[in-house]
């Protein structure tokens, strides 16, 4: 008798084949991603280096995301302080607010918010750009004109996100601090010097390093996922849309997974 999960009329053997095929596709994709990452490490650190293009891409990733990051970072700091106040007030611990804001922003919010914003903005733009270059044969044109497209397009973009996103995360932390300060000073009337003093008090060296490592990992992930999706894009304009979408969804998902893993690892050192 057919299992209850079987679609009526669909033979169990056919369903098994579909499942097997999907499983094969999944593992083939996994293997292709592995090869893609290995190729990145092989190509990125061998001459000729594309310094000019890396700087240009850093500008694209960093400067072009600055407005969005500024607004988001400020709101995150401001809202976090606002929402945390009532809980602390219950225990009469309002004076702990700068410390709470600092731990939340430095340890989690700054790298995570930056990574999520960049997954949407940078990841999708890399996926769409490379995808459209693939379907319009621009990548092939680059290859036949004696340029290594992987080095020029992929390595530069991945290195740019790996460099620019930690810098953006540091900037987000600073802007978040300003947002938090504004909220705290409006309600508690604390001075900026006192706020900054309390902000840095609970932070340890490990908080800065783990935040930096996290941002580097997030940056690399966003770059490699965006490039992979775009570089192997197929099926015309539909494929370009799929590449952009896939870049955002996959990068965001992986960012959360990495966040959990890194937090677990760093908590062992506290």
């Amino acid at each position: 008798m057919d299992s209850v999960n079987n679609i009526p009329g669909e033979p169990a053997e056919k369903k098994n084949n579909t499942f097997r095929r999907r499983l094969a596709v999944f593992f083939t994709d996994l293997y292709k991603i592995h090869l893609f990452i290995v190729k990145f490490f092989k190509e990125a650190f061998l001459p000729p280096y594309e310094f000019k293009e890396i700087v240009r891409q850093c500008y694209e990733v960093g400067v072009r995301s600055l407005t969005l990051i500024s607004v988001t970072g400020f709101i995150v700091g401001f809202i976090f302080a606002k929402q945390s106040r009532p809980s602390l007030a219950t225990f009469g611990a309002n004076s702990w607010l700068p410390r709470l804001v600092s731990i939340a922003i430095m340890r989690a919010l700054a790298p995570l918010v930056t990574a999520l914003i960049c997954s949407g903005k940078v990841g999708s733009s890399i996926g769409a750009e490379l995808g459209s270059m693939r379907v319009t044969e621009q990548i092939d044109a680059m290859e036949v004109s004696g340029t290594n497209p992987f080095k020029f397009l992929v390595c530069t973009r991945v290195l740019a996100t790996t460099i620019a996103i930690p810098i953006l995360a540091t900037y987000t932390a600073f802007i978040g601090l300003l947002g938090g300060y504004l909220n705290v000073s409006l309600n508690e009337g604390i001075s900026y010097t006192a706020f900054v003093d309390q902000f840095f008090q609970p932070l340890m060296f490990l908080d800065f390093t783990s935040s930096l490592i996290k941002s580097i990992v997030f940056g690399f992930t966003i770059g490699i996922v965006g490039c992979y999706q775009g570089y192997f894009s197929t099926k015309g304009t539909e494929g370009v849309g799929r590449a952009a979408n896939g870049a955002v969804v996959t990068a965001m998902f992986l960012v959360f997974i990495e966040e959990v893993i890194i937090v677990q690892i760093t908590s062992n050192f506290r």
Binding site: Q138, A141, V144, S145, T147
Partner: protein, 257 residues
């Protein structure tokens, strides 16, 4: 414009293909291709859509790997050389894509400059400008130097695409459907340009098309690709002097309809 006489060196084979086979999954596209391209010659490959014409030139330029057979380009076996050697060889081959494949984010000037600065390490600004001026003059589009590709018409994009390949002074030109999607007048202009390139740059070319007007006006030799093999090779008249029902409809559609 009538095709001018060009000297073809039949003793110098620039591309030699033997027993070439290529399949995609279960579908065999090329089933044992043999081909010689001589120095200075324009060879037109005719065939139906999906017959493997574009696959053939992608195999020649190393964009695809064959399943079987050898492809010798300018004395190098494309199937057996390293990635670095292949990159060096590609500089000597110009590839004009069906949709021009111009870099969207760059102006015409930057599109032309790109292959030059990346392949000629010690080139000066003055030499770059002179080379750009020279190729734009060859394709007759000097006034479009600062335009973006999106601002150009289909014919202009094709010309700029050809100019971008010419900037490296290639010895071999591969044209993928050079007249596809163009109006008849622009087609004639592109055909004239292909002939002009052959004379001015002394290139040997493979022209992939299913446009017989293009084939007749540019080809020194025609090769008819049917069922994964070259069924007829010769001059235009030789190829179409047949009652073969797989070949005749091509001629009838283009010249009788």
């Amino acid at each position: 414009m009538e095709k001018a006489h060009v000297k073809i060196d039949h003793t110098n084979t620039v591309i030699r293909i033997r027993g070439l086979e290529k399949a995609f999954e279960d579908y065999a596209v090329l089933r044992g291709i043999d081909l010689d391209l001589y120095q200075g010659e324009n060879l037109v490959v005719l065939g139906r859509s999906g017959s493997g014409k574009s696959v053939l030139i992608k195999l020649i330029s190393g964009l695809l790997k064959p399943d079987k057979g050898t492809i010798e380009v300018l004395g190098h076996d494309v199937t057996g050389i390293s990635e670095k050697e292949l990159q060096e060889l590609r500089i000597r081959i110009g590839f004009s894509f069906q949709n021009s494949a111009l870099y969207d984010s760059m102006t015409v000037c930057k599109n032309l400059e790109f292959p030059l600065v990346r392949n000629r390490k010690n080139i000066t600004r003055k030499e770059i400008n002179a080379a750009i001026e020279n190729v734009l003059d060859a394709v007759g589009l000097s006034q479009y130097i600062n335009q973006m590709p999106a601002e150009l018409s289909g014919g202009q994009r094709k010309r700029i695409g050809i100019a971008r390949t010419l900037i490296l002074n290639p010895e071999i030109m591969l044209y993928d459907e050079p007249t596809a999607g163009l109006d008849p007048i622009t087609c004639i202009e592109i055909n004239d340009l292909i002939n002009e390139v052959q004379q001015r740059y002394h290139t040997s070319s493979i022209i992939i098309t299913h446009d017989l007007t293009c084939a007749k006006s540019t080809g020194d030799r025609i090769a008819m690709l049917l069922d994964g093999k070259f069924q007829r090779v010769g001059t235009f008249d030789e190829v179409f002097d047949t009652k073969d029902q797989r070949v005749k409809p091509f001629f009838d559609y283009n010249f009788i309809q």
